[in-house]
């Protein structure tokens, strides 16, 4: 009996592990009905300063509070609600207070689709924010298209998509690859690159774009490897990289694997002066978690919505002021904060034009702009920037190259 029980358990958890290779790494966490946070009251309470008078406008937030990606999503949710609270405190959207309902998508694409449907049909939210990873977005896409809703998606992703119901406000490969690739070739003078990533669509497609660019510029790709979600043992991979004779590692490894990977890199005696890592996941939260000694000398690249450091700083200060050191916000988290303002601005115009029809909203959303974020109505994506930063000895980031101007989005460039 016991053995049968154990065998069952083993097969179940092995199936989960295998599935993790193609989907999100699911953990043993399960959350129940507590998913919807009663923050509406809080939000409405904070409006007191300039009470909006109109009917509330409802929006749904799709972020994981449990599961493997909840580590990165907590801060995104915090950034989103910060913007909502600010807008409410300033009088709401054209006098309408924003009511938000948060659903825990449990780091699971199927749950993302389910919760999106619930928010649209039961809670009557036409606008959704979040679904921060490609697999979640792709699960939510058919739902928003079927029920005439919109998703504001503001994570850097791989492109190759253009839905009339998704407002893509973060960077895509054609805005990132030339900036980062040219720095690797011209400034770092790398000639043998080993390409690694977590085994999912974003890493594969972004790496493909990079490989195309690097090979065109005479760089030899000495290896390409993908690791499972949540992998923490990087010893084989690092040995493999060492044996390949690479002089640079281009990494699209994401999530908690990043810290384990950098620690193993140091453990195996790699030196960032000889074989630096150029990584899409080396923001301040990762540097804090792995320690400056394991990050220094490597490079972090990201797509950003603004090149103005003072704007990002103002935003991160607000997060620290509200949440203490609970979260480590950075320029990529800013994307979620600014997305809410982008939507609110467009929504005000829609109210002013008195056209809340699907086409009316579409017209406003895809022509919206806020700060340095300007939507491109041809592609439904935003004009955006990229920058590559160097990790200093003390763990701080110094920008070494950035886009000269906002690049027009082209989701199908690679």
């Amino acid at each position: 009996m016991r053995k049968r029980l154990l065998s069952l358990l083993l097969s179940a958890s092995m199936a989960v592990m295998m599935l993790a290779g193609c989907g999100a790494g699911k953990t043993a966490t399960d959350s129940g009905s507590a998913a919807t946070e009663g923050s509406i009251e809080e939000a409405v309470a904070s409006v007191a300063a300039e009470t909006p008078t109109g009917d509330p406008v409802k929006i749904g937030l799709l972020f994981s509070s449990t599961g493997s990606t909840s580590i990165s999503e907590g801060v995104m949710l915090a950034a989103t609600t910060l913007a909502i609270d600010e807008i409410n405190a300033a009088g709401g959207v054209a006098g309408h207070p924003i009511e938000y309902i948060h659903e825990d998508i449990q780091s699971d694409s199927a749950v993302s689709a389910e919760k999106a449907k619930k928010l649209i049909l039961e809670d009557e939210c036409q606008i959704l924010f979040g679904a921060m990873s490609s697999q979640y977005r792709q699960a939510v896409l058919p739902v928003v298209e079927e029920y005439d809703a919109f998703l504001f998606y503001s994570t850097i992703y791989e492109g190759q998509e253009q839905s009339p119901n998704i407002v893509y406000s973060a960077s895509i490969p054609n805005q990132i690859v030339p900036v980062v690739g040219s720095y690797m070739v011209e400034d770092m003078k790398r000639s043998k690159v080993f390409v690694i990533g977590t085994d999912y669509v974003y890493a594969h497609l972004l790496n493909e774009a990079f490989i195309t660019y690097l090979e065109e510029n005479g760089v030899e790709i000495v290896g390409e490897e993908y690791t499972a979600f949540g992998q923490t043992d990087f010893s084989s991979l690092m040995t493999k990289i060492k044996a390949s004779g690479a002089d640079c590692i281009l990494s699209q490894v994401i999530g908690d694997s990043v810290v384990a990977m950098h620690k193993e890199y140091s453990n195996q005696g790699f030196k960032s002066s000889e074989v630096p890592i150029v990584s899409s996941a080396l923001g301040s939260n990762f540097i804090a978690a792995m320690g400056a000694e394991n990050a220094a000398g490597n490079y972090y690249f990201c797509g950003v919505n603004t090149l103005k450091d003072e704007v990002i700083e103002e935003f991160t200060d607000k997060i620290y002021a509200k949440y203490g050191d609970m979260y480590a916000p950075d320029s990529s988290t800013y994307g979620y904060y600014v997305a809410v303002y982008l939507w609110a601005g467009a929504m005000e115009k829609a109210y002013a034009a008195d056209d809340l029809s699907l086409d009316g909203l579409r017209e406003q959303f895809f022509n919206a702009s806020y700060g340095d974020v300007i939507m491109d109505p041809e592609t439904n994506h935003a004009y955006a920037y990229a920058k590559i930063q160097y990790v200093e000895e003390d763990g701080s980031l110094t920008t070494v190259k950035q886009s000269e101007s906002a690049e027009k989005p082209d989701p199908f460039a690679y």
Binding site: L5, A260, A289
Partner: protein, 287 residues
């Protein structure tokens, strides 16, 4: 080529050491109590957080963190076993659910206190032994050393002491052992707490080289479960051999082929093994 092979072999030993530390706690508990401790991953996490608090926040030496990780997880184990697990001792399935519940509670408590962010623990013994191009870090050697010592201590307690003899007797026939006047509930508490303590040590050893966050435990549970089942469920030595075999094959083959494919291949091999030897490779006969 030879260097790569040796390097991979040593990395494999290091992974095996970590896996053995994860499994040992699990296997001693299953052996005696028939409880599969689903909170094993969370005890690892607890050990890692205790290390974070003592070595990063309070700046205590790493060896103190190692002792603290053991002591605190043992205490948590005692409290949990006495208050919740022992009343359910006769219902086997309930122990599984209960420890699963405990795993969620532990995750959420740590999340509430420390937030979801990853935490930093520095590597205590920096530096490497260099032999030609071959590099072996001191910390890897330390990990292997701790695993060997922990295994030896466990082995001695269970096979060379009177207490161990009583525990093994209970494993074989609980009712008869009770008839002979041995207090089996006390043995349960000891074994569960000791198992939790080993797992705490494992968390402490993992903290400097892996990622410390509230959900870190889950990824270690599957591999541990695999070794325990392949090794023969309540066979301490079998688990060690299985851990070595699984880790070495994952790391060595992973050094030459795609790691995800290697993992799938190893899983399939295990399924085939269990098909023909459902009690594991080293199942004890006569039970």
């Amino acid at each position: 080529m030879l260097e790569t092979l040796i390097s991979l072999f040593i990395n494999g030993l290091n992974s095996a050491a970590l896996l053995i530390l994860t499994c040992l706690g699990l296997v001693v508990i299953i052996g005696l109590m028939d409880v599969f401790n689903m909170a094993t991953g969370e005890f690892i996490m607890l050990g890692a957080y205790i290390t974070y608090i003592s070595s990063t926040v309070l700046g205590l030496p790493f060896l103190v963190s190692l002792v603290l990780s053991f002591v605190v997880t043992v205490l948590v184990g005692i409290v949990f076993e006495r208050l919740l697990l022992s009343p359910l001792r006769k219902k086997r399935g309930d122990g599984l659910l209960l420890t699963y519940g405990l795993s969620i509670v532990l995750q959420q408590v740590i999340t509430i206190i420390y937030g979801p962010e990853m935490r930093y623990v520095s590597v205590p013994f920096k530096g490497n032994i260099e032999i030609g191009n071959l590099l072996i870090s001191y910390y890897n050697l330390f990990t292997i050393f701790v695993a060997i010592v922990t295994f030896a201590v466990t082995f001695i307690i269970f096979f060379k002491t009177k207490l161990g003899m009583q525990i093994r007797a209970t494993t074989q026939n609980r009712a008869m052992t009770e008839c002979l006047g041995i207090k089996t509930p006390m043995l349960d508490t000891f074994t569960f707490a000791f198992g939790c303590g080993i797992t705490g040590i494992c968390g402490c050893i993992l903290a400097p080289v892996r990622t410390v966050h509230p959900l870190m435990g889950a990824s270690y549970l599957t591999d541990a479960l695999m070794s325990v089942v392949v090794g023969g469920v309540n066979n301490i030595l079998g688990t060690v051999v299985a851990s070595l075999g699984i880790s070495e094959s994952l790391v060595m083959f992973g050094g030459f082929f795609n790691e995800v494919n290697v993992k799938i291949l190893v899983f399939i091999t295990i399924i085939v093994i269990l098909r023909f030897k459902p009690d594991g490779l080293f199942a004890k006969k006569g039970r």
